[in-house]
Symmetry: C3
Subunit: 319 residues, 3 copies
């Protein structure tokens, strides 16, 4: 799509060379055929170094754009991005495409749907009611229990087990807001990548990335009713217990343990081998190798001490 066409459609000023744009990306990842945006000034450095073909920016920031990067001028770049994102959204279901390719020795039950251009490895089992969207890959020996939904473009590794009712690749929760209080969808054009040897419990929801990929790395085991927001990266051999959740863009190190009903605030990092006890609420990045509890989160031994203090307070009945 030509930048000039986008500019025209949304009545935006185009500064710089007209270009062919193929997709959207974050500033630090964008390539010359991609369009990016800057809303939050904490990403000014990424703006100065971006390799995007064009960026949606406020007029006052034009001078910071690297040479050769075009601009679409907007006073509300995030909202403008939201409107533009729809242009790059893929159809949920195409009308035509290449028949899916099924490996050797697979068990494909009745009432299974597999979308165009998908590739299923060897020895894969897809139980009744499984829906595999188009352009999905599923690795060898993976077992998918009934009524699982895998959205288009997602990649599932080898030797994975996905329990019934789980949803992989649903849209991340991303909206820009108008001044009059409406919420405009940012189409979620990324995907989910599940690496090898991952097990995911029943009725989980793992959202696709807005751009790029939500990633669950090799050997991670996820219990039931767990939410993983868009653009999370979950390290190798992580354990997540039932009803826990990761808000968008949480980065979880390897061998982290996350207790039941624990959650994260998103846009933060959890270091390798950290343990978050049940109900822990992670509100900022934390180093690995320690045990944490509580909300707001603290080291577990501090939390125990606090509970002991409160128990004493309660016993005395007075402060």
């Amino acid at each position: 799509m030509r930048l000039s066409d986008i500019a025209k459609q949304f009545d935006l000023e185009l500064v710089g060379e007209d270009k062919e744009i193929h997709s959207l990306a974050a500033l630090q990842d964008a390539k010359p055929d991609q369009l990016s945006f800057l809303e939050n000034k904490k990403y000014l450095n990424a703006l100065k170094k971006t390799q995007a073909g064009a960026v949606i920016v406020k007029k006052e920031l034009l001078s910071l754009l690297p040479k050769g990067v075009s601009a679409l001028i907007s006073e509300e770049p995030y909202l403008t991005l939201a409107y533009i994102s729809k242009l790059f959204a893929k159809e949920p279901m195409s009308k035509s495409g290449k028949e899916p390719q099924i490996g050797n020795n697979c068990t494909i039950a009745q009432n299974v749907s597999i979308g165009f251009n998908s590739v299923i490895g060897d020895n894969v089992t897809l139980m009744p009611g499984v829906v595999v969207g188009e352009n999905v890959t599923i690795g060898d020996n993976t077992l998918v229990y009934p009524n699982v939904t895998i959205y288009r473009d997602c990649q599932i590794g080898k030797n994975c087990i996905i329990h019934a009712g789980t949803v992989i690749g649903s849209d991340g929760y991303g909206f820009a807001h108008t001044k009059d209080g409406r919420h405009v969808k940012i189409y979620q054009n990324g995907n989910v990548i599940i690496e090898d040897d991952v097990e995911i419990g029943a009725n989980c929801a793992i959202d696709r990335a807005v751009f790029g990929s939500t990633i669950i790395k090799r050997g991670t085991k996820i219990d039931n009713l767990i939410q993983i927001g868009h653009n999370c990266i979950v390290g190798e051999n992580v354990l997540m217990a039932g009803q826990s959740g990761l808000s968008g863009s949480t980065i979880v190190g390897k061998n982290v343990t996350i207790g039941g009903q624990a959650a994260t605030a998103g846009h933060l990092t959890i270091g390798d081998y950290a343990v978050i006890a049940a109900r822990g609420g992670v509100t900022k990045s934390i180093p690995g190798g320690k045990v944490y509890s509580g909300f707001p989160l603290m080291e577990h031994k501090q939390w125990l001490k606090l509970q002991a203090l409160l128990a004493r307070l309660l016993k005395r009945g007075n402060c």
Copy 2:
């Protein structure tokens, strides 16, 4: 159904005129062809003004009934209501009915079921495994992802997006209790109404009303794994983040934001533009326009102050 037949079936005394009853309703909503009940004395005023055809009440309250309103006498009106509710429950699946009506330019995938008497608008996409119960309406341009279930009698607006695995119209959690500790189902004869431009994430559960409607108003965006109890009314442009929940009969004002894993106790009102932070637990009605946190809920700045005090207490190691 005749009041006298109901009275006979459950061995109840009928006081006043025998009438034809078509359905059940709350005191304040009931019409002359409806049966209502009074269990909790805080609704005595509603009893005095009811336009119900008949009311299930304790004998001692008979004198408060408006003229012309009949009564079924019960020492346990709520329990009696539960038993009677079964008489008015509709079949989950009828054996016959009018073929569903599908609009122009729809994409109805394989393995989709649509019940009798349902009406699907134009440009609607129903992906594989979607189950639309009978007497459902779905508005133009709405997109329903795989394995979604919409129970009978529900109404979905235009331009909605419903993600995979979500359930709309499941029974509210309503039971009356016998003296020996059994729980008797109150059949949930209402429905769910989703207005236009609503997006609902994956694996949510939105319960139908016991009588009347659970309503999600225009422009509201709901994340994954969210529960909305029976008879909730969620205002326009509300945001609900992942794993949050509304207990039954919660009234949420417009443009309210509800954080991840936050919840409400039910039978309360949240004012317009209120913000409930993640994990907030709303236990009573709150005015709009403020930010709240914690459980029990308080204003967010109070919560921050409390956390600072506790941190100081912990540091000192003594109260």
Copy 3:
């Protein structure tokens, strides 16, 4: 399977008589044709009294085995159990078997799958997209809403209602851990038993037992989005509100009430008629007949007192 074959396959020392082993079981339940294990020394008494055919144990504990009980020697018995458990896992879907038996007057909708050897009672309704695995029994008059998945070997009683999207019999979250931080699946070879008159809400996940059964007893009513871990035993007439969860091996007494988003830590007992308020976090066994709140859990009246103290502290702004 011969003990000697298992020993050979995993390079383990077999002490005592070679035997035919049919399945795995916990020490206190194991029979002479079953293999058990001891990892945690708090079960030494169970070891001394076990009737298992053989036990996986550390060498140093050999002398504690009852006469005639064989041993497989391992320095990591739980990890060894995990590897062995795969040998006893049943196929998720068999290639052949006895056609399912359907009772009189059932309504089996389109797109329903029923596995081999399953037995469906009279007057059962299975709505579209329901998947019943093999060797399942469903009692008379039970109603299963769309897109429910019931895994193999589970038993559902009479007069039950199971709402859409719920999963019964998914694998419990059980892993043994290698020294280098990988997680080895313990195949969950047990099942789920749902007794009569149970209602389960939408999008719940009830895990099968590792050995034996997860049991939901008669008359219990479960709301939406609830997790019940492996080997839980939920008593009669229990109420569990939305988004609550039970970790593995929780024993819940009869007529217990569990509030919304409440949870348990597992391997504990809740006494009859206990009430856990919303968000309560049960971390150890508690006697019945009382009302509890908070996390860590305390008696509700204590929790109210603590909140009052904290409110006073906050008001004073100083400790």
